[in-house]
């Protein structure tokens, strides 16, 4: 693998995400109610809660595409919009939420992760099409594709990929952004063992390089194994703390999260 670029600098601030009194609603129905928490920089956080508990809503607020009714969000101690405009926030959606019929190749999809950086290219360069942009962008894109082992499919239209390949493309797109904070919405769901392994390995390396990871998941086994901190969420914060304390049965019952026993053993066998 090519040499990794410099580790993430933005860990100067102690907290990556700081949320206070956050309330959000869809069509007047409350989804998040007075949520407050802090997530440390450079750590791996997982958000756990039952369906409809506001996990995805929380991520879309951090990603900037939903405006909360009330409450305050700070990223790295500062204005979240300013952070986003510096491309410091990367978001990996659930893959059902994308238009896979879109006429775009794997390479071009991954390249969109660089668009924020291209906007800051000098003068007229920012208006250039992605394929004419600086070599640096293309090198980063090639490295990300190699890292998720999708480089041989770079020219393939995204509509022809399998579910696991689609996730890996989204992961590569996230990597090209080189953001100090990444938000992942159920990156492990519906994957075979190899793709799952690959995504977790990539995230672990990113974590070692100082990236802050916020991951929504139902996967308790891998949470136990990798997470530094767990946020139990069900419309409001149930509790937040290290996985060993948060993943006890009584805590999970309070969150109404899926229990250890309801996990499918086959999917977790290799990671356990």
């Amino acid at each position: 693998m090519a040499a990794n670029p410099a580790p993430y600098q933005s860990a100067q601030a102690d907290s990556a995400v700081s949320v206070s009194g956050l309330t959000a609603a869809y069509d007047g129905a409350p989804v998040l109610d007075n949520v407050s928490f802090e997530l440390g920089a450079g750590q791996w956080h997982t958000v756990i809660g039952p369906n409809g508990s506001g996990k995805t809503t929380l991520l879309t607020i951090l990603a900037g595409s939903l405006t909360p009714v009330r409450g305050d969000v700070k990223l790295f101690g500062g204005d979240p919009e300013a952070c986003r405009r510096r491309s410091e926030v990367a978001y990996m959606p659930q893959h059902e939420n994308l238009e896979w019929d879109f006429p775009i190749s794997v390479w071009d999809t991954v390249m969109t992760g660089r668009y924020g950086h291209m906007r800051r290219d000098a003068l007229w360069r920012r208006f250039l099409p992605a394929r004419l942009s600086a070599d640096r962008h293309r090198e980063i894109c090639a490295r990300a594709l190699a890292e998720v082992r999708m480089d041989h499919l770079a020219r393939r239209p995204i509509g022809q990929l399998s579910g696991g390949q689609k996730k890996r493309v989204l992961l590569a797109r996230m990597l090209t952004q080189e953001a100090p904070l990444v938000l992942l919405d159920e990156p492990l769901v519906g994957l075979d063992k190899d793709s799952r392994r690959l995504i977790l390995d990539v995230l672990r390396r990113q974590r070692e390089r100082g990236q802050t990871i916020v991951m929504v998941t139902h996967d308790l086994v891998n949470t136990m194994k990798y997470a530094d901190q767990v946020l139990l969420l069900n419309r409001s914060v149930i509790d937040i703390g290290p996985p060993a304390e948060m993943l006890r049965d009584d805590m999970l019952t309070r969150t109404a999260a899926p229990n250890w026993l309801t996990q499918t053993p086959a999917a977790d066998e290799e990671d356990a």
């Binding site: 990603a63 190749s105 999809t109």
Partner: protein, 311 residues
């Protein structure tokens, strides 16, 4: 001032037509024959510009699932045309104002109320269209109304042609300069926000571009049929390729080709020009639908048959 603009546009259009006729002159005489008339020359230039502009925009319309929005804006343009006629302005300006107001209104309702896009459009554009019909029933002659509704490319005046060309140039420049933003916004609006792009500006910018294109196409294909030119070329191209730049090129090609062939048919068989242009575009779509190498019906039929045989 209006007369000054008329004279200016006649000069500009004459220069452009000179260039265009230089190309047409190279063609065999039987093909070039209709273009000895000035009105046919202007019609050809208009048709090419409108076909290309609509084709370009239609890709984003199809991918963003905005075909209905095109329909809505084109209808909303009618009251503007009627009011401009009353006041004596070029109807281009009135059309742009009411079209833009209605489309911004639709966008605002969609973003800020619980109503979904289709309801917002259904209410806004029928209301605007009704106001237009009411005003026109009071003032204008029915032939004028027919030209607005169905277009008459054979009667295009130099001033309107120049405005069409300017609108086309603006659309091309906007797509070229903000290609990355448009691609990102049509593909993944959430990622657009996460990267700190102003998705609201891109959203309304695309709507204004759409309005501009519709208004520019009014005289050629008319209010009713412009939506066909904003959907058919993009839909045809979508069936033929899996790459956006290629899709843009094919859609522009389909738009221009239909406009030229439709114009010929209108000239030789004395047909309504707007209708014949759209009929040609729809025929191309039908061909792509059946014969497209990857997404066509024939290909799908053969593939299914092969799978059935294998089992």
């Amino acid at each position: 001032m209006v007369e000054g603009f008329d004279a200016f546009s006649r000069n500009v259009v004459d220069v452009l037509l000179g260039g265009l006729m230089g190309v047409v002159g190279l063609l065999p005489e039987s093909i070039a024959e209709p273009f000895q008339y000035a009105f046919m020359q202007r019609a050809l230039l208009t048709a090419i510009v409108v076909g290309a502009t609509c084709g370009l925009l239609s890709c984003f319309i199809v991918l963003k699932r905005w075909s209905l929005l095109g329909d809505a804006i084109s209808h909303a343009v009618l009251p503007g045309v009627a009011i401009a006629y009353l006041v004596g302005w070029p109807f281009f300006i009135g059309a742009f104002i009411t079209g833009a107001l209605t489309s911004l209104g639709i966008g605002a309702i969609e973003r800020h109320t619980r109503l979904k896009a289709d309801a917002a459009m259904g209410v806004m554009f029928t209301a605007a269209f009704a106001i237009g019909v009411v005003i026109i029933s009071q003032i204008a002659s029915s032939t004028h109304l027919m030209h607005i509704l169905f277009g008459n490319v054979l009667g295009v005046q130099p001033a309107a042609l120049l405005l069409t060309i300017i609108a086309g140039l603006i659309a091309v420049a906007a797509v070229a300069l903000f290609y990355k933003e448009l691609l990102l916004y049509t593909f993944d609006p959430v990622q657009t926000r996460a990267l700190g792009f102003h998705s609201g500006r891109i959203h309304y910018g695309l709507i204004l571009l759409l309005t501009l294109t519709i208004v520019a196409s009014l005289e050629t294909v008319g209010i009713i049929l412009v939506v066909a030119m904003l959907a058919t070329p993009g839909a045809t191209a979508h069936l033929l390729t899996d790459r956006l730049p290629v899709m843009l090129a094919i859609a522009i090609g389909v738009g221009v080709f239909s406009a030229i062939i439709g114009l010929y048919l209108a000239y030789y068989f004395n047909l309504a020009s707007g209708g014949s242009i759209v009929v040609v575009a729809s025929t191309l779509f039908l061909l792509a639908l059946v014969f497209s190498p990857r997404h066509g019906l024939l290909r799908r039929w053969f593939r299914d048959a092969a799978i059935r045989r294998a089992h």
